[in-house]
Amino acid sequence: MKWVGLIAVLFTGGLLLSAMDDFPNWGDAHSPANASPVSQYFIEKTIEDSGVPNMVTAVLADYRSYDTMFETVVVLIAGIAIMAILRVGNQIPRGARPAPVSAPASVNDDHQDIIIGTTCRLLIPVLQLFAFYVIAHGHHSPGGGFQGGVVLGTSFILAAIAKGLDPALERLPETRYVKIAFVGVVIYSAFGVACLLLGENFLDYGVLSVLLPTIDAAEARSHSMLGVEVGVAFTVSAIMFAIYANLASKGELEGGL
C-alpha cells in the first residue's frame, strides 16, 4: 500500500509540476487570470454596480451569489449529516430537548474554575459583539456572513468548552439551532425568490429597489447583500455549534469534553 501510494503521489506531483514552466510568473499582474475581463470587471465596476468597496463581498454575495447559496447549503448539509450519522438508531437524545431547567444562570454558578468562568464571561459577549460587527461590516472590511457566523458559533463553542455542553445547550438547544440553520437558508433563498417574483432572474437584487422606493438599484444590491450575509451567518453559526456539540458528545448531546 505504501508503495502504491508513493508511486501515485509522485506521479501526481510530477504531473502537477510538469506544467510549471507554462505558468505565468508569480505576482504577474498581466497573467491570464489576473488580466482577464472578468477580474478587471470586478475591480472596476463593483462600486458602480453596488457601491460596496470590498470586492470579495460583492463577488461573493452578488455576482456569484448562486455559488454562495449552495455553499450555505453545504454547511447545512454538514450539520444535518453529522446529526444523522451519529444518532445510530437511537431515540432523541436527552440533551436535544429544551431542558426544563430552573437554574438559568448555570454559566455563573460553577465556582470551581473561577479563572475560566470569569474569562468566558468577559470574552463571550465581546466575541458575539465582534461577530455582529464582522457580519455587518463585511461591505467595508474583511469579513461577512461566513466569518461572522463562525465567530458567533465559536462563542457558543467556547461556552461549551469552558462550562460543559449542558449549559451551552440550555441556551441553544437542538430544536432551536436546527431551526436557525434552516431559517438561514430560507432567508438567503427568499431574497432570490423575491427577485424572481418581481420578474427578474434569480438573485438579481437590483429589482428589489421597487420594494423600497427611496433606494436605487445599486443600494438595493448593497442592502440585499447584507441581507443574504445575515442568512449565511444564521446557518453557519448554528451549524458550527451543532457540529461541535454533536462531535464532542458522540451525538448524545450531554457531557461533552
Binding site: V56, G143, F146, G153, M240, I243, L247, K250
Partner: protein, 81 residues
C-alpha cells in the same frame, strides 16, 4: 508582500505539515494542524487575500482544530503512525 517572510512561512508550513502527520499522539497532531492552519492564514493575509485569511483563521485554526480534538477526546489518542 515581503518575499523573505513568504519563504520563511512556506518552509514552516511544510515542517508543520510533516510534523502533524508524523507525530504519534493524535492530540498533538491536531494541535500542530491548528498551527499549520494559522501559518497558512498568515501567508494568505500577506498575499492580500484578507477574507480568505480571516475565514481560514476562524474555520481552519478554530473549528477544524476543535472538532479534531473533540473526536480525539471521544476516541483515542495514540496512533500507530
Amino acid at each position: 508582500m515581503i518575499w523573505q517572510f513568504d519563504i520563511i512561512i512556506l518552509i514552516f508550513l511544510v515542517i508543520t505539515a510533516v510534523i502533524s502527520l508524523r507525530v504519534k499522539d493524535l492530540l498533538a497532531a491536531s494541535m500542530v494542524f491548528g498551527t499549520y492552519s494559522f501559518l497558512i492564514c498568515l501567508l494568505w493575509a500577506g498575499m492580500g487575500a484578507v477574507d480568505v485569511a480571516f475565514t481560514e483563521a476562524t474555520v481552519g485554526a478554530g473549528i477544524s482544530a476543535v472538532i479534531l480534538i473533540a473526536t480525539v477526546y471521544n476516541t483515542r489518542r495514540d496512533s500507530s503512525d
